[in-house]
């Protein structure tokens, strides 16, 4: 009833020539409105694949993916596109900025597509967001002129600019130093608390994980567990995943 994402028995297969790779092998998942959910798991475990399905940029081989109460398999291409534009904000692992547009234009683009705001309002909204991610001085730069971390922040701003109900973030802090990473997490957290925006983000970083309400642990295309942030962090540490910047007391 209050779930925004509902996934049941989803299988995703990729065909590579004659072999078939199973990226997801029967995943079920329920995400409530207003959750701040983390998806964790080793490389290749299927995090990106899962987010792509939720983000309606890819389709499942089998199973049901419901987003905002709609079975995505039953939507037309048009309706899926509308859903991506108006309901979902997606921060891609590889940023996917439009190379020929500058920072400002990249962030403004979804607003242009929505056609709800005039040019002045768009400007204010975009510049405000760019300031929050610390890039207002780079508005005129092209993506190629930015560092990986800066590009990531443009992608964040673009995903948030339409005020979507659901934000999907694929390793949103992977390229950021911890200070900027924290800043981005704080921004997301603030939106989550003030506006009730739902966040689903994948991460390796347990420092990011600890902000989550819950952590979904993926391995080999299957959900291993849904656990609290605390357990997940402990689990991560026990597996020997070195924290990016361990607290002083944790050092042996």
């Amino acid at each position: 009833m209050n779930s925004i994402v509902s996934i049941r028995d989803v299988v995703k297969e990729y065909e590579l020539g004659t072999t078939v790779v199973q990226a997801l092998r029967g995943v079920s998942l329920e995400v409530m409105k207003g959750e701040f959910l983390s998806i964790a798991g080793p490389s290749g475990s299927g995090k990106t694949t899962l987010l792509n399905l939720i983000g309606c940029v890819d389709t499942a081989t089998r199973g049901v993916v419901e987003v905002a109460g709609k079975d995505t398999a039953k939507l037309t291409e048009r309706e899926l596109t509308d859903l991506r534009l108006n309901t979902i904000g997606f921060i891609f692992q590889s940023f996917n900025l439009v190379a020929v547009l500058n920072v400002f234009q990249n962030v403004e683009f979804p607003l242009l597509l929505q056609r709800k705001l005039g040019s002045k309002e768009r400007r204010d909204r975009v510049m405000n967001l760019l300031e929050q991610v610390g890039l207002h001085t780079h508005a005129k730069h092209r993506p190629s002129e930015l560092s990986g971390g800066q590009r990531q922040r443009v992608a964040v701003a673009r995903a948030l600019v339409t005020d979507p109900l659901l934000v999907l973030a694929d390793e949103p802090t992977a390229n950021l130093d911890s200070a900027t990473g924290n800043q981005i997490i704080d921004l997301m957290k603030e939106l989550n608390q003030k506006k009730g925006t739902t966040f689903i983000f994948s991460t390796h970083d347990h420092k990011v994980m600890q902000h989550a309400n819950a952590v979904i642990r993926l391995a080999d295309g299957k959900v291993l567990a849904r656990e609290s942030a605390k357990d997940a962090v402990a689990h991560a540490l026990s597996l020997g995943e070195a924290p990016a910047e361990a607290p002083a007391g944790a050092r042996v």
């Binding site: 940029v57 890819d58 596109t81 891609f92 500058n102 597509l113």
Partner: protein, 437 residues
Amino acid sequence: MTIFDPMLWLIAVRSLFQHRIRTSLLGAAIAVVTALLVSLAGIYVGMKTTLLVSATTLMSGHVNVAGFYKSTASSSAPVVTQYQKLREIVQRDVKDLDYVVQRGRGWAKLISDTGSMQVGIGGIDIVNEPGFVKVVQLKEGSLEGLKQPDGLLLFEEQAKKLDVKVGDKLTFSAPTFKGTNNTIDVTVVAIAANIGMLSSWNTYMSDTGLRQLYQLNDETTGALQIYIKDISKVRAVQESLRKAFAAEGFELMDTDPRPFFSKFDGVNRESWTGQKLDITNWEDETSFVQWFVTILTVAATTVIFVLTVIIGVGIMNVMWISIRERTREIGTLRAVGMQRRSVLAMFVTEGFLLGLMGTTVGVAIGGLASFLLNNAAIKLPKGAQLVLMSEKLIVAPTAGWVVFAVIFITSVITLISLIPSFLAARLKPISAMSHVG
């Protein structure tokens, strides 16, 4: 979003501007094709018009009222009697008449001190010949002299062959229609620049002088040359004149689309005597010109077609590559919520704008090139001079061709840009985004 959405134009303009290197390369290619098309069409129109104007002015008119007078069944003279009355009917009945002139026709031996040649003679009433003055370019002397009964105009080629200059005296010798031989003395009053093959076999003198040579009366001439404002209406004018002349009691020959000099044998075999009129048009009288126009048209069309295809394929390749490069971009745009149709509309708008800008620049370049080519007065090779009845290259770009070039090339570019973007927009956003290459 539809194609008329200002938002789409904003995005398209932005995208063109951001891809400025590609935009300017493609735009330049489009401009070059357009410029070539406009200049080539200009050459085609310029040469064709010159050819038609020269031929019709000097030889036939648009509609030609001639005929034969037979004193006996087997002797015919290529003349029309009572030409003043015929001219009145023409002036009264022909709609959109530009002007009408009478021309004497002769074929005589021209003898100088050093040589002689067989030439045609056009007998002209220079005072009433508005077109002649414009077509003939004098190298020496003046057309004023043609007002004198013994004034003669030669072309450079003939003057050289006969070794004469303005002021020199020559003699014409011809059999009259009564069967005796007659000669008159003439003075070269003007030497004109060569006009194609015409310069080798035609000369001009005053109509009065020509009448003296052939001992004809004042009411007789060779033909009436009728010029109308719209040359495509010749057939209608021919028809209406046939009726008008018949109604006034003139005898008419059957319509026969051959030049007058091919008709002697046929006419001599018929049994009638007296005057009969023969109404033809410029295509009949100057069928060789018609042939050259066809060759010119085929040549121009072939060149333009080949050119368009070659460069069209080139542009298509560049557009194709650029859109393949942009597959990732299309995937991203689709992933953040751009509809398939909007992607297409965006590319169409881009293609349209690109085409419009390129062709506009191209038209300007083509216009300038035409102007410069005209001013350079490039001399045509001898063979081309003969056929095209012009010594130099004449380029006349027309509004019609300019509009055609802009619309045609812009449409082609727009269509070309549609195909690959259609393919890219059909991909799943994630496939397009992870597209390599």
